[in-house]
Symmetry: C2
Subunit: 334 residues, 2 copies
Amino acid sequence: MSVVRIAVSGFGAIGLQVAKLLLARQDSLKHRYEKTLLISGVCGSKGGVVEPEGLSLEQLDKKNFVAGLTGMSFIQKVEADILIEAGPSNIQTGQPGFDYGMAALDKNMHLVFASKGALVCHYASLIQTANNNQKQIKLSAATASAMPTIDFVERCLAGATIKKIEAILTGTSNLILTDMLQSGSDYKTALHKAQQLGIADPDPSFDVEGWDTASKLVIMAARLFNTPLDIQLLAKDSLTDINKEQVMGWQQQGLQPRLIASIDFTTPQPSYLVKLKLYDKHDAFYAVNGATKAIWVDTEEMGCFYLTGGTSNPLATAAAVVKDIEQLLMDKLL
Amino acid sequence: MSVVRIAVSGFGAIGLQVAKLLLARQDSLKHRYEKTLLISGVCGSKGGVVEPEGLSLEQLDKKNFVAGLTGMSFIQKVEADILIEAGPSNIQTGQPGFDYGMAALDKNMHLVFASKGALVCHYASLIQTANNNQKQIKLSAATASAMPTIDFVERCLAGATIKKIEAILTGTSNLILTDMLQSGSDYKTALHKAQQLGIADPDPSFDVEGWDTASKLVIMAARLFNTPLDIQLLAKDSLTDINKEQVMGWQQQGLQPRLIASIDFTTPQPSYLVKLKLYDKHDAFYAVNGATKAIWVDTEEMGCFYLTGGTSNPLATAAAVVKDIEQLLMDKLL
């Protein structure tokens, strides 16, 4: 039986959950795909550990990490068939994920991204190199984690011509918008509440100013429609501009604003926007409350589809990473 | 550039739409997958036409059909890489689709089913033969047509452990149930209305007595969970048993019945049922009105998902068949 070695760069809550899930499923994956999956190395920001014969959960404890075995030196040292990139990433530069990804492709690994930066800034370079090396780039966890977006459109709607996509892709901003309308509070009050619940970050700008949604939109445009977008130039609405009078007006009209990624091919030029859109009670997005995500797709041949759900936590995101690996297995690419 | 030849057995509204879609997309498919797709033969109940170099839309007119070139003699004569089985089928015997499918696998074709019978009765034999011959069996159009079910669970939720699935899979019965509750009418009145609209068949038993939903449930159980079910033995609720007093009671309680396929792995024994289930306004299925289909999936790692949509007409079903072919192309199996 052949062996599949998996390396993980970025060993926070998601990386650890991925390792746990893969180790817990070793037997069932072996049974289904006739492959033995091993974790051959992981690294965090300060150090890492590699073992071509596979690491146990105990060996993945940070006390066993070798200081300095991180970043590019980890990628160079680890032997693997897949690199899972789950570290912090910069959406302005795409680093360090881009360098890790290119180096891993050079070493003949498939890439599974949970981080967004490299995909936002350098998808075209990554996919070209991957194609040249006959390797795959998977990215479920980088788009909307557990909620399927890319694979739903790419795979389940493959026979249809896409006319429009609207998607709620950022749980935090949706939670804040839901609370603003339900409690009639302004942006700052709702943000403060979300921060106290530990849902919004101390610096919420990435989520509430549309950068998170925009990152996912850029990745979807690149992957699904072969369209490179510059995240800096993308029009992005922000929650910070909403005042209390607006909230009261929307309440009176029975409208619920949602921060959406919008892709529209029915306009003279295809449009890609991050925008606040108002929905009334007849729209599916009206009731997508709290940190829930959703996607709505209109097609030429098959009509409209609406998909919602998926938990937002490290386990669910890790399961999205494992999904990408299972897809490689079912497609016999490993 | 290599050629992919496609044969269609059963040339009614769906078969014709498949041919139209494939011919209209020849250039774009050539561009994306570097393959030239040809329709190398089609047959209806009385005759057919074959042409290894590919048939044009004009040549697909029934006036060009050779009498008697149908059934097994068509399968034996046609040269193809894929057989699309879209003819009428019997869910008691699985014929004639089963014989066509086995003969096509013998001739090294992949199978794309739009008909259900062969899959309901003989999935295990078909998939074993297909595996032995390294061929694929695709079946999107046989489960819920445009609405993704199999590929959604198999692909988009691959990383998750399924706990429960509930699905509205039969448009006609859902339309009748919706009307019964909205207009307070009994089963016979609502059925009559649906028949006058041309939505329910003159003999509605296949839809309203749960056989259509059961067929799709049997296919899902076989494909997704490797569980062979006998459709005859499957518990099936029927719309015909609903009386006006029940309808009035449900109206008063704010409940909406739906005829669902139910798969439950949280019970001591996995359960597979076709049942009438009551939903209140907090449930997603409460508002799935008319002939709309929907699927709800609860998972261990990723939480719940709810998907609805997809038009029910020959074009949408044909697009589901084309999706299956595109999946074969994207997986480099052609």
